[in-house]
Amino acid sequence: MVIYLPIAEMSVNLFLLLGLGGAVGFLSGIFGIGGGFLMTPLLIFIGIPPPVAVGTEASQILASSSSAALAHMRRGNVDLRMGMVLVAGGFMGSALGVWLFALLRQLGQIDLVISLCYVLFLGTVGVVMLVESVGAWFRRRSRPGTFARRHRHLWLHGLPFKMRFHRSRLYISALTPLGLGFFVGILASIMGVGGGFLMVPAMIYLLGMPTAVVVGTSLLQVAFVTAVTTYLHAVNNYTVDVVLALALIVGGVIGAQLGSSAGARLRGDQLRILLALLVLAVCVKLGHDMIVTPSDPYSLASASHP
């Protein structure tokens, strides 16, 4: 069954969209990730214009992260104070990101910048995660019960505007989470991702937050930032397709439920090895596409004025 997407201005098979949403939802259920970094490239691969893929994906991540954030808040796993500082940074980052997005689109470089960001961040995160998880797997097999030191003193901790975060048991400069939120906000609006894959490691290693509140707090930040990103893309770039979003959300919700029950049966370090390989596969595919000679070096772009 084919449906016409009013903003993307193209016809796509509805079951393909539900299937994509379901498959990515399944993986996000298994790995506990948002899945934006998989969905946005997949949408581009099936021919959705990159700006529409990025704008629409923000609204899908909003759907999944807002309900997950609510669930974490009910369980008390959210540092609200920290969340608000991250969100404030995220709002500013998102506003700058959407503005940059429109500028790059006008210059004809948006597709390249999206791909470059993906290759850079997925490559780094994938390699770090692979090294860490393979290491953890070997350590567990040789001698269980060794822990890495969580909290280290970095130059970041010397910054001014110190703030007390009770829930995270931290007394650090507010500039660090503000800057982190800002940076992830830019990436979220340019790459069409929630940014959890960067946010979670940064909160653990850079801010030194306890793991128990990291996931809930990052989901809170992702929900607020994707809400603002959705709005700004809709207003500035007219690139949010609600029909596409609806199909992806419905598929994603079902997939995520199936995935989380499947994920419960796998062990943590094995999951992280699989996720790292998945991240690297997307990275290699996108990097390959940038380097290989295009079938036609020429492409069309609509002029802004008639």
Binding site: Y4, L116, V235
Partner: protein, 251 residues
């Protein structure tokens, strides 16, 4: 322009025998099976039949020209091994869609200057840069060819012209096909009757392609009331996420 009646005589009897045939000397009459193509939820492209009568004996060329827009063509080049958009050229008033149907190969119907005057055939489309100052003709040609090639790949410019077939000496028909990605707007359908290499008669009619129903409403809503659309997109996402949470917590 009417042809002299004497020439029509041999074919007139046959023409009259056809129910839809014109009286003698009616000249060129053509019409489309539809004047409105509605892009609905299930739109996968469509065919429109054009039929008409001429006085017979002449060649028929049908062109369909979509709404014109300026079009940027970009060329990638390698920087440090990565393919990057480098040069670009903006063409003026480029048809978003162009199709041609002919009763005989165009180069056998008329000379190039005649074809160019009426923009008959893709190679005779007027595709000129907004600002050609200081640009080599070969540079412009490369971008122009790329423009046509990309449009053909998107199936918005016809690659192989469909035939105009004669069902009798004067009754002709052709099928115009529009792909699913056809841009909405007002399309000009022109029927030319050519004889001895010159246009003898021509007729123009409009074809409207427009989004209707929910698609049109959503598109207009997104363009004209973007802030409200953005807010509603947020509300939809959050409430669907919340609903899913409620449903799956129960089961």
């Amino acid at each position: 322009m009417r042809r002299p009646c004497g020439c029509l005589a041999p074919t007139a009897f046959l023409a009259v025998a056809l129910a839809t045939a014109p009286a003698r000397g009616e000249g060129l009459v053509a019409d489309l099976s539809e004047h409105l193509i509605a892009i609905t939820t299930a739109f996968v492209g469509t065919d429109v039949v054009l039929f008409g009568t001429s006085d017979g004996g002449a060649d028929i060329v049908v062109t369909v020209v979509g709404p014109r827009q300026n079009q940027i063509v970009r060329r990638k080049g390698q920087i440090a091994g990565i393919w990057v958009n480098r040069e670009s050229l903006e063409f003026e008033r480029v048809p978003t869609y162009y199709a041609v149907a002919t009763s005989a190969p165009l180069d056998q119907i008329a000379r190039a200057d005649v074809l160019a005057r009426h923009e008959l055939g893709i190679e005779h489309l007027r595709l000129e840069p907004v600002d050609a100052a200081g640009l080599a003709e070969s540079h412009i040609d490369a971008f122009r060819e790329a423009l046509v090639r990309n449009k053909q790949r998107q199936r918005l410019y016809s690659s192989a012209p469909p035939p105009v077939s004669f069902l009798g000496p004067s009754l002709f028909r052709t099928t115009l096909s529009f792909p699913a990605n056809v841009p909405p707007g007002i399309y000009q359908v022109q029927v030319f009757e050519l004889e001895d290499g010159y246009v003898k008669d021509a007729q123009r009619s409009a074809l409207v392609i427009s989004k209707v129903g929910l698609e049109a409403d959503l598109f207009d809503f997104a363009q004209q009331r973007a802030p409200l659309y953005g807010l509603l997109a947020i509300v939809m996402a959050v409430s669907l996420g919340w609903l899913a949470g409620v449903i799956f917590r129960r089961s």
